[in-house]
């Protein structure tokens, strides 16, 4: 089967309820915006394929499923994540303060080399702003990660931020691959995702009890 991408990145959105994580996701994946607030229901992840340096990159962007509300995000959510968008609302001080808590959470559960970025969302609502851009930049500097102010509603910097994060991940991976020693003896078992039989599974060399019977 021909693959239609060169890279697959798993990205996560993290931040307090109501900061606009799902809106950012919709803006980026479907270029749509819905201002009525509904807590995240029914959104698992969204896919968008972008191109960087002539390579096709499939982004699989996961939403919190509302489990951030009482800080009950499963540890499983962080598995395999390569990039994380930390989102706060520039009109809500508390969501900004909580970024530190979310970073602590990430440090505890995500891979140590996960690429992070802080987004101050709702920057179209300047009249209600309580967190200055400076403070956002300062916080990001403290952790040595990137920062951007975005607006899912006005479609400001949404594309840019996802592209920047993806570029960072790609650079990180490419660097890692360079220094990699590929000859490491026997191949470890490969990852299995259960599917019904015949669903694009192992049609070829299926080692069932009967398959290796040529010797008998």
């Amino acid at each position: 089967m021909a693959k239609s991408y060169d890279y697959l990145f798993k990205l996560l959105l993290i931040g307090d309820s109501g900061v606009g994580k799902t809106c950012l996701l919709f803006r980026f994946s479907e270029d749509a915006f819905n201002s009525t607030f509904i807590s995240t229901i029914g959104i698992d992840f969204k896919i968008r394929t972008i191109e960087l340096d002539g390579k096709k990159i499939k982004l699989q962007i996961w939403d919190t499923a509302g489990q951030e509300r009482f800080r009950t995000i499963t540890t499983a959510y962080y598995r395999g994540a390569m990039g994380i968008m930390l989102v706060y609302d520039i009109t809500n001080e508390k969501t900004f303060e909580n970024i530190k808590n979310w970073i602590r959470n990430i440090e505890e559960h995500a891979a140590p080399d996960v690429q992070k970025m802080i987004l101050g969302n709702k920057c179209d609502m300047n009249d209600k702003r309580v967190v200055t851009k400076d403070r956002g930049e300062q916080l990001a500097l403290e952790y040595g990660i990137r920062f951007m102010e975005t607006s899912a509603k006005a479609s400001m910097n949404v594309e840019e931020s996802f592209y920047i994060l993806s570029r960072d991940i790609k650079a990180h991976i490419d660097k890692k691959m360079e220094g990699k020693n590929t000859s490491e003896g026997r191949n470890p078992p490969s990852v299995i995702r259960p599917t019904p039989d015949g669903g694009g599974g192992f049609k070829g060399n299926k080692p069932s009890w009967f398959s290796r019977c040529t010797v008998l």
Binding site: K3, I43, M177, P189, I192, R193, S208, S211
Partner: protein
Amino acid sequence: MNDLPSEFDVVVVGTGLAESIVSAAVSRNGHKVLHLDPRDYYGGKWTSLNWSSLESGTFAKEPVLESETQDTSASNSDFGFINPIRSLEQIWYCENAPSKIEEIRTLSRKFNVDVFPKVLLARDDIIELLISSNVSRYLEFKCISKIYSSLPAPAEDTIEPIPLSRSDIFTTKSLGLVEKRKLTKFIESVLKADETGGNDESSGEIRAEPMVAKTFEELARAASLTEKLQHLIKSAVKTVGDNFDPSRLNAEFVNRCRLFLQSIGRYGNQTPYLWTLYGVGEVCQAFCRLSAIYGGTYILKRSLNNLKVEGDELEVTFGETQLKTKYVVLGSEIKHTPTFQIGDTRTVVRAILLTIGGPIKSETQEGAESFMSVYKINDLEVVELDYTSLAVPKPYRLVQVTGPSVNQVSPRAFVESSLASFLDFSGTSPVEESKTVDGSDNKGDSNSENEASNLESPTDESANLRKESLSNGSIHMKPVVLYGTYFFIDFYENNKNVQGLSPERDSKIFYCATASTEITGEIRRAQEIFTSMYPEEEFLPKASDGSQAEDPEDETDVNRETANATNPADFNDNDGSASTPTI
């Protein structure tokens, strides 16, 4: 708890397997679910712990609730906890090497240690449920590469691979020619007896009559299996907690034989077993995520305080929150005192061992080490995991031991004596061999003589003891156990005949507790509870792709093997570098 709706359809307490499945099934069909857990992690006894959580032993203690909102010692509470874990004993065998201990502790996050580990048959009910519900999208597995069994007495200290294919049987040196033919015939008759068909092996030259109703003894006699063959078949197929009596009618056992055989190769797996990456705790979390996707509300460190019947509904309180619900579903750690009484109980002995120095059974060819193996040693099921399981970092191995309960012996004494021929419990790490063992006993309570003698044995001697001649003349060192956690887990049922229980109340409170130690038992319990609440509804129909924007590639993506082999950046890296599981 502010901004929480005042009415729910179902309140679930506990995030163990059955509870999580019920929650997902109910929420999936549009009912409002509030899902609580008294602990600060998901999974209950099905959880997977990092190293510091394992070492802290809190999983064996009563949960600590969020103190601001809930008085943990509320004596007027209708609810209480039942801790299924007993007789916890934790020990560092390598106490003489504090640097090693420190190193392991700094790797805490790279451990995902199952409290109750499970290898899954590739055709187990749970795999089918994951597929049919589409929850499989959250999980990944790897296959166990080898299964070994100890031989019947007096050779119980010898372990040999269990042959799983015709070519295995053909090439194995441990069976005679006659035995090989008998085993082949037996396996074929078990497989051919599957009248429902479904497997694509259709050569069909041997026609056996259906054997579902036969006992294992009858089958063994019909195939004139030797004692050794019977032993191998039994240890391969038997699971912990199985009350397998070969003399009794045991269709289930024969069916299990078939499931076992048919599981081989389903996903290109050489053995029938799959291992859940990051541990079995991921399975609970996957069902919880599905529940949350469909609107389930999650709060941890909370349990119910009180419950009142109010007409058709239940009024429950936790902390200062009061809400109405139609049903309450309680996990196996929770009891509603007026409606609960411990009934049938099954106890399982557990050991979690951290080892170094290679696998228990090394293959003869140099460098060809197995990655994950299952050993059936007498009545114990031993799952040996290496870094590829993402449950333990390199170079360590996690040896997960599960067995039927033993009387009057501590779990530690029992496991140490059962595995003494295969593992070195003396605590001398190969790296630290130059150091001498501190003879003074400062390891706390040591009730086993076995341990005392180990402590006294000089280093060189124990190193010699570890050496074991292989048939090809090479020397194999027993893996050294660095750390052990030992305990019992109880699986019990609620004795439903509680006096004074009004019928309408009975049908509104459900207990997930089951005496079954199998995941299939948890699924059945979840299904029963769901059907009692919503008899008209389908149980966990396939969830639509949560990403709404359909991803046509996901269908082809499912076979990660090809994608991984060629794509260095695929996030499910299979190059096995557990140090970087994300990339």
